[in-house]
């Protein structure tokens, strides 16, 4: 920690010379896109979970009400976080990462199991996935380290080793959870951030080769993973078990057609499609809102992602750039994987759709991250004003 208090290093991140209040408003396009997606997500939760909620609890609005409360709270948190000086994340990055690693260690010990996977922790009545915290901690830490050592990124000592060590540590903890998708995402985000931070390209070549070898071994060892591949390529081979979900998902997506069955009129949500308000909610979006609606939602995500990178590019400092880019890359990867899996473009992995999938803490964390991007955005908006004041 002492490292970041040294003057020569803090130079890397240009401390604002003015009060936070003066640094302008949040980036409105980004904020509006997030709120819009959250709103659509919550409404779709209502439609998608209607039948399941009634079947499981007798209250059709059961999941909707919970998600809506978290959405409102999450948007509030996002705005509050947006108004903070993101320098605090620079200072606490390693702390957050260490905390996340500690939580990951706890998972195999006192974790909560859902659908046969032990990936959740319940602390103080709140249930969450430590892997999500780990992703955030990693992005912040990488951002901090890369901005501090921005002039040494071309070396192995500063440009590869620390990040690789962190990635391997987190990945091995995730391997204990048998959480392939989170491992994959962490590696992808880490790789993107290293690429942005300036790690030399040859390391990526080595990394890709290592990844390929690892994947080959993994697939050879993990029976359930190769079964996933079979189910992906030929779901009809086991229609009532491993192929069931993807077949049901295709029914939902395919029957949507161009304009969809109409909002609320999904048939597959009547307990045919498992996880219909969760990982597979996008299939219900397709079924009800059609190709038009589905592409519309994807376009909103695309706009949000592009705006996120725009903020990263226009960030005040290297830390801001890297963190904003890291967070928005995480979002993009999750959207890509989720929709890819739901539409059978990719083999099944348990990645939820940001803002849409049911899950309160995940939504809170997601909006928290959007808040960080918003806080970074504040400077780019008022860049000129800030420069003048500095001058």
């Amino acid at each position: 920690m002492a490292l970041f208090r040294k003057k020569q290093n803090t130079e890397a991140i240009q401390q604002p010379q003015v009060k936070l209040d003066d640094t302008g408003i949040l980036d409105m396009p980004f904020l509006i896109l997030v709120v819009l997606l959250v709103a659509i997500g919550v409404v779709m939760i209502f439609s998608a979970s209607y039948a399941r909620a009634y079947f499981n609890t007798g209250n059709s609005a059961h999941y909707f009400v919970r998600q809506a409360i978290f959405a409102v709270a999450g948007v509030a948190i996002m705005i509050v976080v947006g108004r903070l000086n993101y320098f605090i994340w620079y200072r606490t990055a390693t702390l957050i990462l260490l905390a996340a690693i500690l939580l990951l260690v706890l998972v195999p010990l006192i974790g909560v199991e859902h659908n046969g996977a032990k990936r959740w922790l319940r602390l103080f009545g709140i249930e969450f996935q430590p892997s999500e915290v780990a992703k955030l901690g990693m992005i912040l830490t990488f951002g901090a380290m890369m901005s501090v050592w921005q002039d040494k990124m071309s070396t192995f000592q500063y440009g590869v080793l620390p990040y690789a060590a962190i990635l391997v540590l987190i990945a091995s903890l995730l391997a204990l959870e048998r959480h392939l998708s989170a491992t994959l995402i962490i590696f992808l985000i880490g790789a993107v951030m290293m690429f942005l931070g300036g790690t030399q390209k040859r390391w990526f070549v080595i990394g890709i080769i290592a990844l390929a070898v690892f994947l080959a071994i993994y697939l050879a060892i993990q029976g359930y993973a190769s079964q996933r591949v079979t189910a992906w390529l030929n779901p009809e081979s086991d229609p009532s078990d491993s192929g069931y979900q993807i077949i049901q998902s295709r029914y939902a997506i395919g029957s949507g057609g161009f304009l969809g069955l109409g909002f609320g009129k999904s048939r597959q949500k009547y307990l045919y499609l498992p996880e219909e308000h969760n990982d597979y909610i996008f299939a219900i979006v397709c079924e009800e809102l059609g190709f038009v609606g589905a592409v519309g939602v994807i376009l909103l995500f695309v706009l949000l992602i592009l705006r996120g990178y725009w903020i990263a590019i226009h960030a005040r400092d290297r830390f801001g750039t890297l963190v904003a880019a890291g967070l928005i890359t995480k979002l993009a990867i999750q959207v890509f994987f989720n929709i890819g899996v739901v539409s059978n473009f990719l083999p099944a992995t348990g990645i939820s759709l940001p803002f849409f999938s049911y899950g309160g803490t995940a939504l809170l964390l997601q909006l928290f991250e959007m808040g960080i991007i918003l806080s970074i955005s504040r400077w780019c908006i008022n860049k000129e004003a800030w420069r003048k004041k500095k001058a």
């Binding site: 040294k6 295709r250 029914y251 029957s255 161009f258 009547y270 059609g290």
Partner: protein
């Protein structure tokens, strides 16, 4: 790192190591932004292009495919079963009808999912609970239900079929009380046959799936079945309701009903008399009978004895087979279940069961050929007369045996003494084999073959019943050779089906018309409207009406003067032809041809205007009865009894004008209280005479009692004031008495004697209805059957 940052020399070294590459912040920033832009394009745009492409493929290009698959996935089709049509006899008595029952089935997948659902609230929703509960209600082993439920990929496992409504209600109550899912009921139809075994092989039965599988049920399956309807509803998984659902109803079309030409009364008498004959002659291999309208081809009755109950068609009814099966299963009980011997026994058992079932389901009247024997002589004679090869003036000579060129063995007549010189008519009356062999040669093999074909014996009759078989005949070339021709001419070495034979002889007497026989006269829709009518269908004319008329006279003379006198029935002009044949292709265990014989008789009534034809065949009567095994002795009386039971019912009035009234039963009137003159008139009306006892003014008593049946021309006793004797008399043994002897014996005992059967003087009593030695009231009528035992064909 913090330490190293403090280390000043280290800072000095750093620029020294890389003097040519000072860190250029602007350039580095530019590099970061360039790379971020690259990632922005990649993650913000490029990643999503394939996804949109994939969605386009699924949602637009393959929309129809997945939509239809999805709809199949989301809809439940509940079939609305069509009720199967009824089968009526010609008087609209239902011979086959259906009731609604229910099948109970489970959905193992649904049960499994519900049981292992995380959010399950119903503790009773387990396979074990369901198995236990259903097992109790349906009387099924719960272990068996658990086994069915363990096949969790299946959605339809029948637990119990065809449960009556009360049981189905119990199942429903069980489901509702315990709030269970995964147990379902579906309607099914149970076929039932109110008359049981009657006409079983004609009607057939429906199998477990409700499909007609034998007889008319099979032949008219599509007509009877109707079209099942369906209700198609969208349903959520686990049968949950959908908020937006649609429902489509396809109405079921009920099956059509059949009205048969079969008359259950006639059928009853056919079967009753066959059963009696089997009993009386100890017939070994069953018997069959057909009664047909000679002018239309309508079948009034068709019976195969050795049948089954279509209500329980798997049950074997043949007592001999049952005995053998019993033995086998006994043996199996005493054999080690692992041994090969046990396996062999089990195989034998199963084979016997299967064979016995097939055999009892078989309608021998249409499916199998049989040996018609001398009944076939009518065909040879009709052909010869039609062709002019023979006329009524021909004479034949039978010495008992004759050799023919091209025939290796000597042809023996059934009467080894020979029939001597006979006219054409006598040749038929005597059923003389040699005369008919001669006739065959006079006609020629090719011609005989053509007539056999013309009479439709070689082809299927086209009767509307399943499983009709073909007859077995020689080829035309083979018929040119005397060896075959002489044999076929008197009815040996051929096997037509019984129905074809009946149709051929019907053609002989009906003016020569070969008909298509039929059993279904009308097809009714569910509202009873006639939608199809079957009737007489002439296929061709085989002989002229003149020849047919001549044949009628000749055939009648066989009963009045020939081998078929045992078929005569007072008041009716019966014609017919007897037949006795060794079975051709039955071999015993040593491969030797058995002595099995089929005796048969084809009778026609009334001969002045032929209306009904009856064929009765008894397969292998036992030699143990001591009677001569022949169609004349055994089958002719059965046909006579059938005619006696049915002709009046069918509206054929007896004509007693030329009949000896003593062979007809009349009813004793009640003449008590009348004057003698009145009594005389009343008795005269019944062709009865009287003697009086006492001299009172009016009749005070009578023998026999009023209402008793007694032969016409009998003398009754009227008591004019005298006491009527109430003593009993003993029934004498009439066996083998001639008519005169029997009458005398009856008068001696104070009894009346009614006769039936042969009226020829050489006929003797072969049976009586009261056992000898029985004590009966004075004046009782004893019926004795007279048989002409010389009718050895």
């Amino acid at each position: 790192m913090a330490k190293r940052a403090k280390n000043k020399p280290n800072i000095r070294i750093l620029p020294a190591r890389k003097p040519k590459k000072p860190y250029d912040r602007e350039r580095a920033n530019h590099g970061v932004l360039r790379r971020t832009t690259f990632i922005m394009i990649f993650c913000g745009v490029l990643l999503f292009i394939p996804l949109i492409g994939q969605l386009f493929k699924l949602m637009i290009l393959e929309h129809d495919k997945y939509e239809s698959q999805a709809i199949t996935n989301q809809t439940r089709s509940t079939s609305v079963s069509a009720s199967r049509g009824l089968i009526y006899d010609r008087n609209m008595n239902a011979l086959a009808a259906s009731t609604t029952v229910e099948n109970v089935f489970i959905d193992p997948l649904e049960i499994d999912r519900a049981e292992h659902d995380e959010n399950r609230t119903n503790e009773k929703q387990t396979a074990a609970f369901i198995a236990d509960g259903l097992g109790k209600i349906l009387d099924v082993d719960p272990g068996r239900i658990l086994e069915l439920a363990s096949d969790v990929k299946m959605r339809y496992k029948i637990v119990a079929r065809k449960q009556p409504r009360e049981v189905a209600e119990q199942v429903r109550a069980f489901i509702n009380e315990n709030n269970l899912t995964g147990i379902h009921l579906e309607n099914d139809a149970q076929r039932y046959y109110p008359f049981g075994t009657m006409a079983a092989q004609v009607i057939g039965f429906t199998n477990a799936e409700g499909r007609g599988s034998e007889g008319l049920e099979a032949y008219y399956d599509d007509t009877l079945e109707g079209t099942a309807g369906a209700v198609i509803t969208t349903k959520g998984n686990y049968e949950t309701q959908m908020l937006y659902s649609y429902e489509k109803y396809y109405e079921a079309t009920n099956g059509n009903s059949l009205v048969l030409t079969i008359d259950s009364t006639v059928q009853f008498y056919l079967e009753k008399n066959l059963k009696a004959a089997i009993e009386k002659y100890d017939v070994q291999h069953g018997a069959f009978a057909i009664m047909m309208d000679v002018n239309t081809g309508a079948i009034l009755g068709m019976a195969t004895e050795g049948g089954y109950d279509p209500n329980n068609y798997l049950e074997i009814m043949d007592p001999t087979v049952l005995e053998e099966l019993e033995k086998l299963s006994d043996q199996m009980d005493h054999t080690n279940k692992e041994s090969t011997e046990y396996k062999e026994l089990a195989d034998a058992y199963n084979q016997q069961v299967a064979a016995a079932r097939l055999s009892q389901w078989r309608n021998r009247c249409v499916s199998d050929g049989y040996e018609p024997g001398s009944t076939f002589k009518t065909i040879t004679l009709a052909a010869a007369l039609e062709e002019g090869a023979v006329d009524l003036n021909n004479t034949f000579y039978c010495s008992g045996a004759k050799d023919y060129p091209d025939r290796d063995d000597t042809l023996h007549c059934w009467n080894a003494d020979g029939h001597g010189t006979e006219s054409t008519a006598q040749a038929l009356q005597n059923s003389c084999n040699i005369a008919f062999a001669d006739m065959g040669i006079m006609l020629g093999g090719e011609k005989l073959y053509d007539y056999i074909d013309a009479f439709g014996l070689m082809s299927k009759t086209g009767i509307d019943m399943s499983g009709e078989g073909w007859g077995v005949f020689h080829t035309k070339d083979a018929m040119k050779v005397n060896a075959q021709l002489t044999t076929v001419a008197f009815g040996q070495s051929i096997k037509p089906t019984p129905i074809a034979m009946v149709r051929a002889i019907a053609a002989v007497v009906n003016g020569g018309y070969v008909l298509r026989p039929y059993v279904v006269s009308e097809i009714l829709d569910e509202n009873g409207n006639v939608i199809q009518k079957n009737g007489k269908k002439v296929i061709r004319q085989a002989i002229s009406e003149d020849t047919s008329r001549t044949m009628c006279e000749l055939i009648e003379s066989v009963v009045t003067d020939g081998t078929a006198s045992n078929a005569s029935l007072p008041g009716y002009r019966i014609g017919g032809k007897t037949g006795t044949s060794e079975k051709l292709d039955v071999y015993d265990e040593d491969g030797k041809q058995t002595e099995d014989k089929i005796v048969s008789f084809v009778g026609i009534a009334p001969m002045d205007k032929p209306q009904y034809i009856v064929l009765v065949a008894l397969d292998t009567p036992s030699t143990s009865t001591g009677m001569y095994i022949s169609g004349g002795v055994m089958a002719a009386p059965v046909v006579r009894d059938i005619f006696s039971d049915t002709l009046l019912y069918l509206g054929v009035q007896p004509d007693y004008t030329d009949v000896d009234m003593s062979t007809v039963n009349v009813e004793m009137p009640d003449v008590r209280g009348y004057t003698l003159a009145d009594a005389e008139q009343m008795l005269g009306a019944q062709s009865l005479t009287y003697i009086t006892v006492g001299d009172g003014a009016e009749v005070t008593g009578q023998i026999p009692m009023a209402g008793n049946m007694l032969p016409g021309n009998s003398q009754v006793i009227l008591y004019m004031g005298q006491e009527v004797p109430t003593d009993k008399v003993t029934v004498p043994d009439f066996s083998n008495m001639t008519r005169a002897q029997a009458n005398a014996a009856a008068v001696n005992s104070g009894l009346y004697l009614q006769t039936k059967g042969s009226t020829l003087s050489r006929a003797v009593v072969s049976g009586q209805d009261y056992e000898p030695g029985t004590e009966v009231p004075r004046g009782t009528t004893i019926t004795a059957e007279f048989t002409d035992h010389t009718a050895q064909d």
